[in-house]
Amino acid sequence: MSASENARPRVGLFVTCLVDLFRPSVGFATLSLLEKAGCEVVVPEAQTCCGQPTFNSGDFKDSRDIAANVIEAFEGFDYVVAPSGSCAGMIREHYPELFEDDPAMAMRAQHLAKRTYELTSFLVDIMGVESTGAAFDGTVTYHDSCSGLRELEIKTQPRKLLAAVDGTSIKEMPGAEICCGFGGTFCVKYPEISDKMVTQKAAEIVESGADYLLAGDLGCLLNMGGKLKRLGARTEVRHVAEVLAGMTDQPSIGEGER
């Protein structure tokens, strides 16, 4: 379906718990991008979390309850969009799987899954956006967050939009597709292994020579940003939505007041 067939789609914005708590500016950037692309955006108040933390910890029962909440809150929209490949992937790939034994819920889950997108993929693949019209000075390197990349095949979409941002150039790093070591609870359950992974990642980010590290998932960004800051690196860290929306007035992730 292209934008022209559905002139002003109603989009439910799935804020994600990390954006809600840590970085509301990403939520507003997402809102602005969606509205600029011609969507009517609604933020359901009843949303909390997609249920991924419990799901990946093997607590399927609570995950189903949380997922049912999300389905209930979002099933009235043409599309559901999240500034996160990980949460969008959870809804798209894993909700139907969660309700395998409950046909009625499985149908609702599948219905929702089909209409749920990560932000950059929604803008490019569904709305046909070629440029967000933003300007941002700097060289950026882009980390492909695992769930977005491997569950939703998001690779070209953010790069295409970034290439159209006035003043921005992309410097690719060699291990852009390799996990940063966040992995939800993995980073606190196995801190030493996670540290090894994020240390390697931080070195490759710095070696890329880019001024900014961007990604589409706040979890990875908090992890990599936290490591870069601990190491005293000068690379600034931002969610890709902030750059695409031209909303970079907030300090970058892990930076204090200027």
Partner: protein, 478 residues
């Protein structure tokens, strides 16, 4: 084989501080990953082959008894013998009896993971038979008295200096002034040692990459040719194989062979692909006088019909471990048993139990790369998640984890309460971050802050700011 999977955490810590190991591991990524990517790019039908490979193995697993019986009758028709073994003990005894029947002093061995699994070498030694590993990597770790750390590159954790050290120590006839500088010197030295042993061995033991039901053949792939020498020169050839290695036809085997080498080493085909069709016949110039297939279950049949059945499609190519960032960080020994990396994180708890190996399916970020590169499309993260679920429902997850999850879902199921608490959390953490915008030490999140800062929240939640901006008046969709 002795397991240390239960102390995975400590194993991992040791591995991370092992300077030599870390150096060896850092060399893995560019080689294996690039070679696989190139090999895949050069074969447009690779994805179709993966589907076919998966379908073949799924079909076999649905009809395993049929194909195993067919395999046996064809082995017998070829003049060989199949020994059905339920567990390690039965398999070891069977192999020992075959060795005794030819009065064996030494046996040469081609690389076999299932032989590691049943602890064959130790058993043979205890019973007076000397096993000699003939795959170079496997030979090196045998000299070093340690298990393999990788499936296709068992000594990947060892550097050149360590190989030389092992040779100088164990090769008693090696003149001290003989140079072992170049890789060629080292392989020559190994060859000098191994050649006579091939000829002297009474029994040759190999693994099997495939068992072909249609022909009763067993198949091994090697890059060194050591498997061929092992199986042709002894009086008896013993093939040790687990029962899921079966494929219906020769054509099925060729399909999966095309996937195997590309996924493993990025080769189109391994240098040697050897089909064994029983003992030597009257007109044959060489070959063993007897041919035995030791068919081992050891917990596999219990996986059939469970969430873990798909794991039995595994063809031991190592692609998952070659692409796993956790394996790359800690290496294979940390996993504590025969099978490392993502495939080990599923297979190990399946075979030796979640009480022993419960860490392994937890020690993954679910980055999904293993599944992405698995030639047999095994849903590895999904199966690890099932192990986590099992741990959770059986109350084996640590009480701290359970309490944390319970608390999280309590709030996640109550939006109003959730929003009040995130408001509070955002404000509190923002205050803790102060002017620096990050938190260097947070008692309840020390796993995080021990190695990295915690970027501080902006101060208010999105929901809070959204309402304040007046946007929220548009209301919900419902």
């Amino acid at each position: 084989m002795q397991t240390t999977s239960h102390s995975f955490k400590q194993n991992a810590r040791d591995a991370l501080t092992d300077v030599q190991l870390q150096k060896a591991l850092s060399k893995m990524r560019p080689g294996f990953q690039q070679k696989r990517a190139d090999a895949v790019a050069n074969l447009p039908e690779f994805e179709d082959l993966r589907d076919r490979g998966r379908d073949i193995k799924n079909h076999v697993l649905e009809n395993l008894d049929f194909y195993l019986e067919r395999f046996e009758s064809n082995v017998v028709a070829n003049g060989g013998q199949v020994h059905w073994c339920r567990n390690s003990e039965e398999a070891r005894q069977t192999i020992m009896e075959i060795c005794r029947s030819v009065d064996a002093k030494t046996v040469t061995k081609g690389k076999s993971m299932v032989a590691e699994e049943i602890g064959l070498n130790e058993y043979l030694e205890e019973h007076g038979v000397e096993p000699i590993e003939t795959d170079l990597g496997e030979y090196i770790i045998q000299l070093r008295d340690e298990p393999p750390s990788h499936i296709i590159a068992p000594a990947i954790h060892v550097n050149k200096e360590q190989v030389v050290e092992a040779f100088r120590k164990k090769h008693t006839d090696l003149p001290p002034d003989r140079p072992l500088e170049e890789v060629g010197d080292i392989t020559d030295e190994a060859r000098t040692q191994l050649r006579p042993k091939f000829f002297a061995a009474d029994v040759g033991i190999t693994g099997a990459n495939f068992l072909i039901a249609e022909t009763g053949q067993t198949v091994i792939v090697t890059n060194e040719g050591n498997g061929d020498l092992t199986q042709t020169l002894g009086k008896a050839h013993v093939v040790v194989a687990s029962l899921e290695k079966i494929v219906p036809t020769l054509e099925d085997a060729s399909c999966i062979l095309r996937l195997l080498a590309r996924s493993a080493t990025g080769q189109e085909f391994s240098v040697y692909t050897t089909f064994s069709s029983g003992p030597r016949r009257e007109t044959d110039l060489d070959g063993p006088a007897s041919f035995h297939v030791v068919l081992i279950d050891n917990g596999r049949s219990a996986m059939l019909g469970t969430e873990y059945q798909d794991m039995l499609r595994c063809i031991r190519c190592s692609a998952c471990m070659n692409h796993c960032p956790v394996y790359a960080a800690v290496g294979g020994h940390a996993y504590g048993w025969v099978y490392p990396g993502p495939m080990g994180a599923v297979l190990t708890p399946s075979l030796i139990g979640i009480d022993e190996a419960g860490h392994l399916p937890n020690a993954s970020t679910f980055c999904g790369r293993c599944e992405q590169v698995c030639p047999m499309r095994i849903p590895l993260p999904k199966m690890m998640r099932h192990y986590r679920a099992k741990e959770f429902t059986e109350n084996k997850a640590t009480s701290q984890v359970r309490a944390g999850l319970r608390l999280w879902s309590y709030f996640a199921k109550r939006p109003w309460l959730y929003q009040q608490s995130t408001k509070l959390g955002a404000a509190l953490l923002h205050a803790l971050g102060g002017k620096r915008g990050r938190i260097a030490m947070l008692p309840l999140a020390s796993g995080w802050t021990s190695v990295r800062d915690m970027p501080a929240p902006e101060g208010r939640t999105f929901q809070q700011l959204y309402k304040m901006s007046g946007h929220g008046k548009k209301g919900d969709a419902r």
